[in-house]
């Protein structure tokens, strides 16, 4: 297990609930501590800029601070074992943030833009799976590793790869290589996408949709969106959740394919399989959005819910940095990475074109 592997708190099933809760506290404190420090550093910059307007101080958002601080820790001193169970809770904070951000979307927005996203996702899925499969064959990658890379890059990164792991039974090495490639590409996207967005003068909505459609892993995708602006971050959530909802269908298709070749177990109950693979947190996001649309909350309460979602994203962003060990990611072999990079460049370009096309044809809001 490499230094950047962070075990889940739920793995330790032999511990009592109270001890497990105690075990996650140090890591949770680290996540919130880094997030708060990032926020403080952003405020300090603003203060500095107000007091000394002539001094050129680059404005760095708390999102970037949180990631950079997390990256610094994980790539220098490393994450001590006492913190790891708590750092793994970043996924819970990420999903809680997504559920709560539903308050910022009226159902008609979700249906309209979510519907548009679903259409774009369908095109993106077909193209990215085809390209990844082609590149995998070209670079002579093991077939199941190619499948994992195609699943990871077309839907939602690590979650999709993990969902596929049980269904198509790849070599453990293939799974870890595919995850490493997807995480490396996510780390690259964090720093390249916002720059490209600014270069192209993209709108908040257009950029947010692009980040949600093109960046694979949910955490990296949301951070990439948030780095461009708060509104962009919200649109990223919507596009990304639409994309994630396809996870069951794609994994099922691959499971049936490998099963038909006798290289994976049969899938007897396909409906149950789809439900088991469906990311349930999307239902929470929709529930809050429906309540907001129905007028269940006042304007002030909606603002509070939105702010709560930002508080939930704060430790999640810190977690993205903390669980990324660049050296371990790069050490996974060059061929899957080259396939991933080529495929991702294609996906980024095609989704960018799709977003521009949809905007120019007036299908966005």
């Amino acid at each position: 297990m490499s230094a950047h592997t962070i075990p889940s708190p739920i793995e330790a099933t032999t511990l009592s609930p109270a001890r497990r809760l105690l075990g996650v506290l140090p890591g949770m404190a680290l996540l919130f501590g880094i997030g708060l420090l990032g926020k403080l550093l952003e405020q300090a910059q603003t203060l500095l800029h107000t007091r000394y307007p002539k001094v050129a101080v680059p404005h760095i958002e708390y999102v970037l601070w949180a990631i950079v601080l997390g990256l610094l820790i994980s790539n220098t001193v490393g994450v001590a074992s006492i913190f790891r169970p708590g750092v793994a809770t970043y996924e819970l904070w990420l999903k809680l943030g997504i559920v709560l951000v539903g308050a910022k979307f009226l159902l008609q927005d979700v249906l309209h833009i979510g519907g548009l996203s679903l259409g774009l996702v369908a095109v993106e899925l077909i193209l990215s799976i085809s390209v990844m499969t082609l590149l995998g064959r070209l670079f002579k990658l093991p077939p199941k590793l190619t499948s994992l890379l195609a699943i990871g890059s077309s839907i939602c990164g690590v979650t999709a790869i993990m969902a596929a792991q049980g269904a198509i039974e790849p070599e453990e090495e293939d799974t870890s290589t595919a995850i490493a490639a997807i995480l490396t590409l996510g780390a690259i996207a964090l720093f390249t996408f916002p720059a490209i967005g600014h270069l192209l003068h993209m709108s908040q909505q257009g950029y947010g949709m692009w980040a949600g459609l093109a960046v694979d892993n949910t955490a990296e995708s949301l951070v990439t969106g948030a780095l461009y602006g708060e509104e962009a971050g919200r649109w990223t959530v919507l596009a990304k959740t639409a994309r994630s909802s396809f996870i069951g269908f794609v994994v099922l298709a691959y499971a049936v394919y490998w099963s038909s070749r006798g290289l994976a177990p049969d899938v007897p109950h396909k409906g149950l399989f789809l439900w088991n693979k469906f990311p349930k947190f999307i239902l929470g996001f929709l529930a809050i959005s429906i309540l907001a649309t129905a007028g269940f909350f006042t304007h002030g309460q909606l603002t509070s819910l939105s702010n709560l979602s930002r508080w939930a994203f704060l430790p999640a962003f810190a977690g993205v940095g903390l669980r990324t060990n660049l050296r371990a990611l790069i050490g996974q072999g060059w061929r899957p990475l080259v396939v991933g990079i080529l495929g991702e460049i294609f996906i980024a370009l095609i989704t960018l074109a799709l977003v521009y096309w949809s905007f120019n044809h007036g299908v966005s809001r």
Binding site: M1, S2, H4, T5, I6, P7, S8, I10, E11, A88, E91, L92, K95, L96, I98, V99, L100, A103, V158, T159, M162, A163, Q165, G166, E172, T175, S176, T177, I179, A180, L183, N276, P279, K280, F281, L283, G284, A287, I288, L291, F296, F297, G300, Q301, T303, S304, L305, N307, L308, R310, W311, R323, A328, L329, Q332
Partner: protein, 41 residues
Amino acid sequence: MANLNHTLPTAGRINIDLIAIGIGLTLAALIRFNILPSISF
């Protein structure tokens, strides 16, 4: 082995999703009935 454990294979993912929904809806209810004060960021 790379980052295999940060997302759980099966049941863990579902549990985390349900926990996130549970916490989210509870917080929404607490805000709706003014049990939680106004939250700023």
